[in-house]
Symmetry: C2
Amino acid sequence: MAAKPLRSARSDNRLPAVLDAAARRFAERGYAAASMRDIAEACGMLPGSLYYHFAAKEDLLVAVYGAGVEQLSAAVRGAVEKETAPWARLEAACAAHLEALLEHGDYAQVLVRVLPVDVPNAAARLKALRADYERVFRDQIRDLPLPPGTDRSALRLMLLGALNWSRFWFVEKGRETPRSLARKFVHLLEESLHA
Amino acid sequence: MAAKPLRSARSDNRLPAVLDAAARRFAERGYAAASMRDIAEACGMLPGSLYYHFAAKEDLLVAVYGAGVEQLSAAVRGAVEKETAPWARLEAACAAHLEALLEHGDYAQVLVRVLPVDVPNAAARLKALRADYERVFRDQIRDLPLPPGTDRSALRLMLLGALNWSRFWFVEKGRETPRSLARKFVHLLEESLHA
DNA sequence: TGATACAACAAACGATCGTTTGGTTTACGG
DNA sequence: CCGTAAACCAAACGATCGTTTGTTGTATCA
């Protein structure tokens, strides 16, 4: 619970640097293996100084996690709005998701790397944040013209699973891009499911 | 480096219990958050006693990881052999993979929960073990009759990603079973990809 | 410009981490 | 039944963990 400041924030506030460093460490090593000392050193501060901004390591993780949801949601919603056809909108959402996850990584990767059970006291908050984000995909899949009886929930879980897991094998060398990968994944489903 | 015993193992050897306890802790909490003390206590031993069987925590993880690959490979190969049609064989492989992952868990879950990068000194060994296992799926997808130009590599990565990620949302309540889920995932791909 | 509160430093706290070392028990082969 | 080695205990080692506490500097606003 950060106490509300009586005055506005100072211009030399290093909170953004703290969040960036924490996002990088959490994304690279996971929650438990990323130490507060690592994070502090990465942004030129002392370990104890982090506790001016956050009461506990868990709260720092929640802040990074929330920023990741914010960033991903904005990217996906922005991409979806540029398309009109349902399948094109879904593909745009997947492409934006993969680009955020695989290219300008860190914050988005924390959503994939850190599981709610890793942070027991904040598990509920993390689950709520993630569910909030995934609603965009639920909406896109709801609007798809599909054969009657198709399990849209299974379709969503399959697609999101494939997208998220790509973080663990994708390498930037080679000709495959996040966008091309999203195109392949969606097309593997689209042709067989055309209503 | 476990020294080769000069005599055969004793009947009160608790190595299996150590592996079981380690598998459970690694699967539940991940590598970093599972402590040697937790594992030792779970099988009624003292922390230092684990070092009679393994020279380091990393080696214990590698042993569990290898056992997980063994168990998954056996289950999937056994399931595949009971079918003849290519798509039925793939579905059987997915069902066996999901059953091992979601029901009689622990060892199989370690493959999904622990990333090679979590264990720097053993990352190469873990990658090799995982690649060894995934060859079963590569073979099944190679034998699929698919439209020309289909990217079988993307298909494999999509399917395995969806299967593995299910560990993070699947709950046993409700009517969905690992088998029914595998059926849905494969069918979502099959109908559109019939050669 | 002086008072205020933001933002960080400096230095430690106890707890827990992986691991080591030397001694003890006990099942097993001869 | 005895000697040996397998299997574990008992107790600690130094390192690192998240966190706390008291103090210091400095940007901001009246």
